[in-house]
Symmetry: C2
Subunit: 302 residues, 2 copies
Amino acid sequence: MNGKSNVEEVAKIYSGIQAEICRSLEQADGKAFFREDRWEKENGYGITCVIDHGDAIEKGGVNFSFVNGAFTPQLENILGEKANSYSVTGISSIMHPVSPHLPIIHMNVRYFSLDNGTQWFGGGIDLTPHYIDVHEAGHFHRQLKQICDKYDTGFYPQFKQWADDYFFIPHRNETRGVGGIFFDRLKPNGSINFEQLLAFTMDISRAYPALYGSIAQGKKRKQYGASQKKWQELRRGRYVEFNLIYDRGTKFGFDSNGNAESILISLPATAAWEYKNEVPPGSAEYETLQLLRKNIDWIKFQ
Amino acid sequence: MNGKSNVEEVAKIYSGIQAEICRSLEQADGKAFFREDRWEKENGYGITCVIDHGDAIEKGGVNFSFVNGAFTPQLENILGEKANSYSVTGISSIMHPVSPHLPIIHMNVRYFSLDNGTQWFGGGIDLTPHYIDVHEAGHFHRQLKQICDKYDTGFYPQFKQWADDYFFIPHRNETRGVGGIFFDRLKPNGSINFEQLLAFTMDISRAYPALYGSIAQGKKRKQYGASQKKWQELRRGRYVEFNLIYDRGTKFGFDSNGNAESILISLPATAAWEYKNEVPPGSAEYETLQLLRKNIDWIKFQ
């Protein structure tokens, strides 16, 4: 695969993986099924798969899209590239769980191709627990490192740092969760070619439902009470703040006249805000807040 | 009043009006009281007044602040002015009601003063009903027109249009509610002086609790069920989208290193999102959606 036709091929592969992800997540949930919603606009099309009222998953979506467009000055600014037109295809997914003991998870892979021949991959996967479990975070990061290391041992340290910096809420001075990996502008070069980069994003997107399934399996029956549910709502509020204020995918979606319902599928079913909510020192909520920091070496938590 | 000391005087007046607003809203609510929270940073101070769990008001805030700062390139961009430093003082307030039959209301007035002598007033007031009542909207707009007309009969048509354009959610293609008035960069000039502009913003901020009180009085006992409450949560979700994505005050607050808890007091206690929520044609929810449009001449609804 090379040249201008790449994007069609990648789109075909990603759209197949979208279906795989849905089937795996349905298995992990054990109750709810995705419904599929296809959309088409003058500049592209997509498949939005929505799940709700599950046993583990309260609300989630797996989006696939393939969009072409003119390269506007706005895009020039955002992307720092000059071209006449672009194509982009990708998968993006977020799951909001029923239980406050389960984390929110997000995964996104995308392939950008400009008419001037420039092309790159981007993506990431990150975990936002309502209650941080350092062992769960450790396992998550070790799995990601293993995938990264298959391609380049420099990837994990670099992309883990990138995730720390990207999934950060400046006005709260908090990370969104325990991070994961984030990467962008990964261009084929002398040391890694197009096929390898594509395989890297395929590995990540396939690992995603498996990782979530194993977390959900262990914790979806764990008891919780009203105060833990309330805490979950407040943490969801932070997730909404990040997605609407800082998330570049959301911004890019709106700027490129994307489908609002599909873009905002990332938002939770419910969320809450309270002025200066305070938690008692030593509580599980307090411990979680202490861990919403950059530069934690999660890998070491066995 | 003139020159550089204006801003201290305006701050004193606004801070007095903040207290008046709180007392009036407490009367209108009949149950809850505001608690006062003072904050200070190296570049300014503020008083955040918070109310919650009221009879009519579920969550609300009245903020007063007085901030000085260096004129950054970012501010130059936002404000389109060149200066070394600025001072700004203002009141901003939002009330989220318990009942879906009551509207969300927002009011804001501010005075900006630059070290180069440039100064202006800005502000606005707008109503976001969960269920639009055209007579209530008509009354609201007539009251605003009356205040505007005292100063300049050109104000209402201009500022009503400005509110239609400003309180708009492009990605939803909906207005936030029934609008009201919005104005910015109102500078003293040959036809209106500083004192008159100050008086205009004082009139608006004093009319605000009275307007809300009269609306709440008439409707806070009106019955509602779970489906209306759910609709309210979804509409609150839209309010969150507007505030976090488009609101310039929120953006300016974050950019000027403002107090996050005070800025985000504008968010509701709870909100909800659902993929492609649909309402049956002819329902009250449907009628409301039809009225979330620009350029409706609300005044005519007696």
